[in-house]
Every structure is written in C-alpha cells, then in structure tokens.
C-alpha cells in the first residue's frame, strides 16, 4: 500500500467532509460505502481550525458500509469545535456521506446530512445560496483550505440584489473556518447569499439552524465567476423590482411583517380602493397580489 496521507497528492479517492464535529451539543456520523467489491484502505485525517490533527486508517471490506461516530474514530481529538476530515485511498470505488446531529435538542438527535465532497472540486469561489439570519433561523458558513499555502479569503454577502458586506481573513493550509453569518455580517438581518473567494482551492458547506439549534446543511457550490451585483455606493443604489400590478399615484405605502402594502390611491385620476401587497422575500424575487377591500380610501 502506498503511503496516502500526504496532502496535495492526487489519489484515486480524495474526499472531504467539510465540517465534522463531536461535543456536548452536536455529534457526527461518517458513512462510507464500498460499491465495487474491492477491499480498500482508507486514511482519514481530521484537522481543527487551531491546527490540532488526528489521523486514522480503516480497512473497508468489499461492499461494506462503514458507519462510525466521529467521537469514536477521532477520539484522540477530544470534544471541541468541529473539524475538516480528508479521506484518501487507492481505489475509485468509494462513496460517502456524513451526518451532523443535535444532541441537546428537545426533539432528540435531530440529523442533517450531506454528501462528501471531491477534493478535486475545490475552487477559488464558493457560493452559499441561502444564509438566513432572523428570529427563526441562524446560518453558518464553513470553509476549508485545501491548498498548500495560507489562503487569503474574501467573504462577500449579497442581499436584495446588491453587495451588502465584505469580510477578509486568512486560513492556514488544510484547516477549516466556521462562523455564523450573523457574526460575519452583523449589520445584515434577513436572508443573504454569500460568495467566499480565495487564492487557494477551497471547499465548504452551509448550515441553517432553527430556533431549537437543529441543523440542516448543504455543500457550498463551486462558482466560476463572481456575481455581477452592484457594489454599495456612497450615494446609495437603486434597483428595479417587479412592476406594480396597478398604475397609480397618490397612494401611501406601509411596511408590515416583511410585506409592503400599497393602498388605494388614484388610478388615472379615479379614486381606487385596491390594495397591493408586495413580498420581497418570495423566492420568485417579489410577487404582487391584489385584493379589493370594501370602502374607497384614497
């Protein structure tokens, strides 16, 4: 068997679990499938943000499915913050996934699952499509530096069509970084999407937690180019939205519970009793609806 644990060596199986954890609040399970009937030696290397690391090997038998808790396989790391796990082998017959579970929640071992990521898919721009931060949900960004050098990361947040925040930091080779979106961009409330750019290849995943801290997760998406969203302007930015269903003037607006109410007014000079409601948080990017509301008010 070739020595497989050298970072950067391109091997037939070179996979990454971006954020595995075991502590008092969360634990993780790693699941590896051998799918072509050969025996495979796996080498798994776990690395925390502070550089603490542990390495284990495991013989996977033909067609075996290996379930293992992170607290067992990486017991040497002890409880603490999460870590990135790189799994290498000399076969192309491996598939894998991992589960992060909330232990402390009232619902029990609330699970979130994601598939392992090919190291070869590491890229210089990663997209995190949906990162809510509000009264109901919190979200987190995980990035792992798969390059050989220190990565200079630029994390950009986009909200409602414009670039709304930017954070830079450095990340050592082979190490992960994780933070709540609300910590990275404390001035942004509501949902954002984010792009993390680096001068080294990176991989990552996104978490969403509900108010019970129950997790869901998805892998970040490699991105070829940065979004064309406008930068903040010292004089403000105008963005065009879906047109109103009504052609009106002289009508007041109010915002209530993330909805914009446009009430009554004049439609070509005639007093109207219509109410239009605009919901910018709709996935479609905004919808107009119309209802007729009793008495005429302008």
């Amino acid at each position: 068997m070739t020595v497989l644990c050298i970072f950067g060596l391109l091997l037939p199986c070179d996979l990454v679990f971006p954020w595995v954890t075991h502590n008092g609040q969360y634990d993780s399970e790693i699941v590896v499938n051998e799918i072509k009937g050969v025996q495979v030696e796996l080498v798994l290397t776990a690395t925390r943000a502070n550089g603490d690391s542990a390495q284990v090997t495991h013989q996977l038998m033909p067609y075996e499915t290996w379930h293992v808790d992170a607290s067992v396989v990486f017991a040497a790391l002890g409880e603490g913050p999460g870590y990135v796990v790189r799994m290498q082998c000399d076969a192309t017959t491996i598939s894998a996934a991992y589960v992060v579970r909330l232990l402390a929640g009232s619902s029990g071992r609330s699970p979130a699952q994601a598939n392992v990521v090919q190291t070869s898919s590491a890229t210089q721009h990663l997209l995190y499509n949906y990162l809510p931060s509000d009264m109901q949900f919190q979200s987190a960004i995980v990035v792992a530096n798969m390059g050989d050098e220190v990565a200079h990361l630029t994390m950009r947040a986009y909200q409602e069509g414009i670039k709304a925040g930017e954070v830079t930091l450095q990340l050592h080779s082979g190490r992960p970084f994780a933070a709540l979106a609300s910590e990275l961009f404390p001035h942004l409330v509501g949902s954002i999407y984010a792009v993390v750019s680096a001068d080294q290849p990176i991989l990552g995943s996104a978490f969403i937690f509900n108010s019970l801290s129950e997790p869901s997760m998805a892998n970040a998406q490699p991105l070829a180019v940065l979004p064309m969203a406008p930068d903040p302007d010292p004089n403000g930015v105008w963005v065009r939205k879906r047109p109103s269903p009504r052609w009106t003037s002289e009508m007041p607006h109010v915002a209530l519970n993330d909805e914009l109410w446009v009430i009554a007014g004049a439609e070509f000079g005639v007093a109207s009793d219509a109410v239009s409601i605009y919901n910018s948080s709709a996935i479609s990017g905004g919808k107009g609806s119309r209802c007729r509301c009793g008495d005429t008010i302008t």
């Binding site: 942004l188 004089n235 109103s244 446009v262 509301c293 302008t298």
Partner: protein
Amino acid sequence: MTTVAAGRVHAMGGYLTFGRAERDLYVFDGANWVRLTDIPTSRAAAVAVGLGDVFYLTGGVAGGRVSGLHQRYNALSDTWETMTPMPTPREHLAGAAMGGFIYIIGGRADFSGGSSMAVLEAYDPQLDVWTSLPSMPTPRSGLAAAAWKGRLYVFGGELPDTYDDVEAYDPATQQWSILQPMPTALHGIGAATMGRGIYIVAGGVSVGSFRPTDQTHVFFPPN
C-alpha cells in the same frame, strides 16, 4: 393616508372625488377592513405617521383649508386627540418616525408653482412640542419620506417640476446630503422601509396630472 399603529394597517381620509375630503378611518384586521372612529375633521393630502400604538395625522387639507392640524389617534382606545398644531400649515407633505420623534418634510400651501416648501419640522410626542430644523435642499410637495438607520430619506415630488431628487437628513449632525437620484422623476409617491431597502411603488410622472407609472424601485441607502 395610511400608516401602521399597534401592528395593524390603518387607512383614512383622502379625496373620494377631487375637493371632497373624507373622514373615514379603517383598520385591516387580517381579513377585513373595519371602520373605526372617524377623523374629527375631514382630511386629505395629509400625512399619517405611526409610532407604537398611536399614529399622528398631520397637515393636509382640513375643513377645506390648508392646515397645520395635528391629531393623535390611539389604536388601543380608538380615540382621537388634538395636539399642538404643526407650525407651518401645508398639504401634500411627507413624514416619518425616527428616534421617537415625528419628522414632517416639504409640502405646499396651494397648487401654484412657487408654493412648494423645503420646511423640516420635528415633533416631540413626549413634550407635545415642535422644533424647526434645517430645510431640505430642494423644495417640493407630493414627495415621500422614510427613515432608515437614524436618517430621514426624502424622495421625488413636484412643483414646479417633477423631481428625481433624493436627499437625506441626519439628526445627529443636522446636515442634509444629496444622494443618488431616482431612476424616474415621480410625484404622488409613498416610501416604506423593508429590510435594507426603501421601496417606492408607482407614482405620477408629470406635474399635476394623474398620469401614473407601474414602476417599482428599491433604494439601498449608503451604510
């Protein structure tokens, strides 16, 4: 006029036909518009600004005259109360609540070309006192105003022209700044802050006419 008080949308007054101001007040209860106690005086082209469980109905045309009438409605008790009048009577004005104060901006004394005002006055609800503040750079009426992060943003308007101007007032410095103009000059508009943006839906495109647009734009103020 429309505003939010006690977490509900209230709509009131206005012209049913030109020159005939109404007194009706309604609240949307989640399913229907429910009529409440009428405005004490018929009212149109005024501004309503919500502040917690009350709203203030200020200026406009009241009883057939341009007025500084300033009334408070308590949404919990369904009662009206007349407060200290606004120093500068005006109609087609705009306003917003910010930092516990009510800011009233612009408007006009009549429909003549030179009547548009740049006046900014602030009302202290605790003391029932008005204060004059630095005027905005561009006098106008039929404008819109909204607050965001401690600044008052003023949009568009008319008389003598139709305006695309966006100006912001910072109470901390008592300074006005001129910002990115609107994509289209509009009057007869509203503005509402939602998330990080200030939304402006539709509006009139030429002075004094009811020629409207369906455009919707959102303005993201500078951080």
